[in-house]
């Protein structure tokens, strides 16, 4: 049997391969060219890439730091301070935005005319205003308009509310704190055991006991007993109340929340919550009406229907877009630089400026934001898998 040979330049399979290879060559060559161009330009100015600068003394101060930091620390540590500040505001932002978003999303579907309209107006306004405008509004329009420190509004506590931020009483670990941590760990263990036993019983008997309620109660019980026990034995509670007091130009002690932090957090939370509310609404509406009707027919009340029937099904639709909202919130936190909050972008910008290491600092910054996003995605994908409808 003789095959009819097609010349290779007319063979579709060959042509496809050639196209792919040419494309690859173009991509690699232009990448290499751009890279080389950058390196040559940097070399001409004596700025060959090096991360040595991370070990040098930073020489500048940072207003807010979760770990000890002073001007004599290194650029590397300064960067870490920025990273932690970004994590702090993103983490809290995600939690509050989720809570607020779910509330508004449910309000949006409420039968109550007033609640419904409030949610609609909120969503339509916030979603259609740029985040930067919101941040500037919160910062200069709200938090900087509070009274001056000397005329600060003093709420019970005392909590000082002024244009320097909010200073409030806060727990301060005492000598017995580390002991109390063991008690808490024990409580956690006990709660886990209760959870496990009750779930098992529930599966065996077919009656669902209140697993969450009982295990939480166990934990709280242990925590309370431990607190009382330690206080009685050592005559010192694990946490002492640290009250802020006015001293010279500032308040000392307690927990101090700066206007920059508050404005950034409020801006991010209120902005992202509007988007989350829409995601939640879409998720709930995706559950077919028959499910709700069936639940009602079985005698479940409104809240039970929502908790046991609608939400578990809506969650499958909600989680994937929610992930991208979380990623957005984290990345949007870089707008902090406009209101003077020392997040990663702001600190990295200062480092870039003091060292002139534009390329290295930008690469580091991209790597950090990328790993934040990847970690969030990994977690959310895991959760998504967990709640997915198991199909057989």
């Amino acid at each position: 049997m003789k095959e009819t040979t097609i010349p290779f330049w007319r063979d579709e399979r060959v042509l496809k391969w050639i196209a792919q290879i040419i494309f690859l060559i173009i991509v690699v060559a232009s990448g290499a060219y751009l890279y080389h161009n950058m390196m040559t330009a940097l070399a001409q100015r004596g700025l060959l890439p090096s991360f040595h600068f991370l070990k040098l003394t930073a020489g500048f101060d940072i207003g807010e730091h979760l770990i000890p930091y002073s001007r004599s620390d290194t650029y590397g540590r300064a960067l870490l301070v920025g990273i932690l500040n970004t994590i702090e505001v993103s983490f809290l932002g995600i939690i509050f935005a989720t809570i607020l978003g779910i509330i508004i999303g449910v309000m949006r579907l409420s039968q109550n005319w007033l609640l419904n309209k409030i949610a609609t107006v909120y969503i339509e306004i916030i979603r259609n205003v740029p985040l930067l405008v919101l941040l500037v509004f919160w910062y200069t329009g709200v938090f900087l308009q509070f009274p001056r420190l000397k005329e600060a509004k003093i709420l019970p506590g005392p909590t000082y509310v002024s244009n320097r931020g909010i200073a409030m009483p806060w727990g301060k670990p005492t000598e017995t704190w580390h002991l109390y941590l063991y008690v808490l760990a024990f409580g956690l263990l006990l709660a886990a055991i209760v959870w496990w036993r009750l779930t098992l019983i529930g599966k065996r008997t077919g009656r669902m006991p209140l697993v969450t309620v009982w295990s939480t109660l166990t934990f709280l019980g242990v925590a309370l007993l431990g607190w009382i026990g330690i206080t009685l034995i050592y005559h010192q509670a694990p946490l002492a109340i640290d009250r802020p007091e006015l001293k010279g130009l500032r308040t000392v002690g307690g927990l101090e929340l700066t206007p920059e932090f508050l404005a950034l957090l409020s801006g991010l939370v209120f902005y992202t919550a509007a988007f989350i509310a829409e995601v939640v609404r879409a998720g709930i509406q995706s559950v077919s009406k028959g499910q709700v009707e069936a639940a009602r027919a079985l005698g479940l009340n409104g809240f039970q229907t929502l908790r046991l029937v609608v939400f578990p099904q809506a969650l499958r639709v909600i989680v994937p877009p929610m992930t991208s909202q979380y990623l957005n919130l984290t990345k949007n936190s870089s707008l902090a630089v406009f209101i003077g909050f020392p997040d990663l972008y702001s600190v990295a910008g200062t480092i870039h400026n003091q060292t002139g290491r534009a390329v290295e600092v930008t690469i580091l910054m991209m790597a950090v934001y990328l790993s934040f996003s990847l970690m969030t995605s990994v977690f959310m994908n895991w959760y998504n898998k967990k709640i997915r409808l198991v199909e057989r």
Binding site: V14, W17, N37, D61, R71, N163, K247, G340, T350
Partner: protein, 367 residues
């Protein structure tokens, strides 16, 4: 058949990888000469070989000058939308020296943070934006500093009713400062040296810094003294604010150029020196024509381009200095126009006087 196709594809693939690798590596090792030309053509205005900047500027027909747009007196945009100020006038002086026409300048407003990147990448030809000369900037940033045009020092401004009189009174204070400045570092150094605990509140632009200070976010604000004076005049109630009688640092401000083009560096240096020399010789924009027509002094003749071909040594026309004095003026004229007694700032000359008057302005001889 199929076997042959795969053989063929294998060879093609290998060839492709090889080609790609070559295009990547050939440039780095085997043929540096070719690379140089490639790079130069791609970023012709960022090139930094000898004479390239002047050539690029002349071909373009105008100078691109990086300036401040938020600092009255030094670099700002006036009501008609024109750039005005001490630094801005030096941009005009460079343009006058090159083209004989001070208006051939395009201004690029830059923040403190953007300025060096803009210069390094060739977005601007020269940076004249109240920039402090330091060792690190002179070396690691790939920049060169022309002679200082303004000797400044860092100061601190507070509210009068705060009762703050010295640095020590700032214990526990919040201090507003702009990012990417030497002031940020000086502040940290000085406070650490005195053991004063404070919190910096850092912003990107001067408008944000002074906005936050005015709203009461900070107890104090710090930057160069000249900038404090100039900025105070823009606050709602200038009389409520006082500049402390302390100087935190030396801040020599002057033009900056990229490293690598010595001719361009020379031009900028001698434009600055020409304004000093003009004042020293008593030549102003008013009397320059008269003096040029009548002078017998060889030094003045060299300065105004009547003998010695000084301009050509810089790659300019011989009347370069005449053009600077004629169209922009000598140092005293530039200073008084922007910062002198007739302006809201009324800054005393102090160190910024001619050396013959006990100041620091001293130009090497033009000969």
């Amino acid at each position: 058949m199929s076997k042959r196709v795969f053989y063929f594809l294998g060879v093609l693939l290998a060839l492709g990888v090889l080609l790609a690798a070559c295009s990547g590596s050939a440039q780095t090792s085997s043929n540096p000469q070719a690379v140089q030309t490639v790079v130069v053509t791609v970023e012709s205005n960022a090139s930094s070989g000898y004479g390239t900047t002047l050539k690029a500027v002349k071909e373009r027909g105008y100078l691109i000058c990086g300036v401040n747009a938020q600092l009255p007196g030094f670099g700002y945009v006036d009501k008609e939308g024109n750039y005005k100020g001490f630094d801005v006038d030096y941009c005009h002086a460079v343009a006058a020296a090159i083209f004989g026409d001070p208006s051939k300048v395009e201004f690029r407003p830059l923040t403190a943070k953007e300025r060096f990147t803009a210069l390094q990448t060739g977005e601007i030809d020269v940076l004249i934006r109240n920039t402090t000369w330091t060792l690190t900037r002179d070396t690691e940033l790939g920049t060169n500093f022309a002679p200082t045009t303004f000797y400044d020092g860092q100061g601190i401004m507070v509210r009068k009713d705060s009762g703050i009189k010295s640095l020590e009174d700032l214990e526990g204070a919040k201090i507003c400062v702009a990012t990417g400045t030497t002031t940020e570092l000086n502040l940290a150094d000085q406070m650490a040296a005195r053991g004063i605990d404070y919190t910096p509140v850092v912003f990107e632009t001067a408008d944000q810094v002074f906005g936050a200070y005015e709203e009461g976010r900070c107890d104090a604000v710090t930057t160069d003294k000249s900038a404090l004076v100039s900025r105070r005049s823009t606050l709602k109630n200038p009389a409520d604010h006082v500049i402390l009688d302390v100087t935190l640092s030396k801040e020599p401000l002057g033009p900056v150029v990229r490293q690598g083009d010595d001719q361009w560096f020379d031009i900028i240096k001698w434009v600055v020196f020409a304004t000093f020399t003009g004042e020293e010789m008593g030549i102003t924009s008013q009397n320059v024509d008269e003096i040029k027509a009548s002078t017998d002094d060889p030094n003045v003749k060299k300065f105004l381009g009547l003998e010695g071909e000084m301009g050509q040594k810089l790659g300019l026309s011989d009347d370069w200095a005449y053009n600077i004095i004629k169209y922009v003026g000598n140092y005293a004229e530039i200073y008084n126009r922007n910062l002198g007694p007739d302006t809201p700032f009324d800054l005393p000359r102090g160190l910024n006087s001619c050396w013959t008057d006990g100041g620091l302005l001293y130009a090497p001889p033009i000969r």
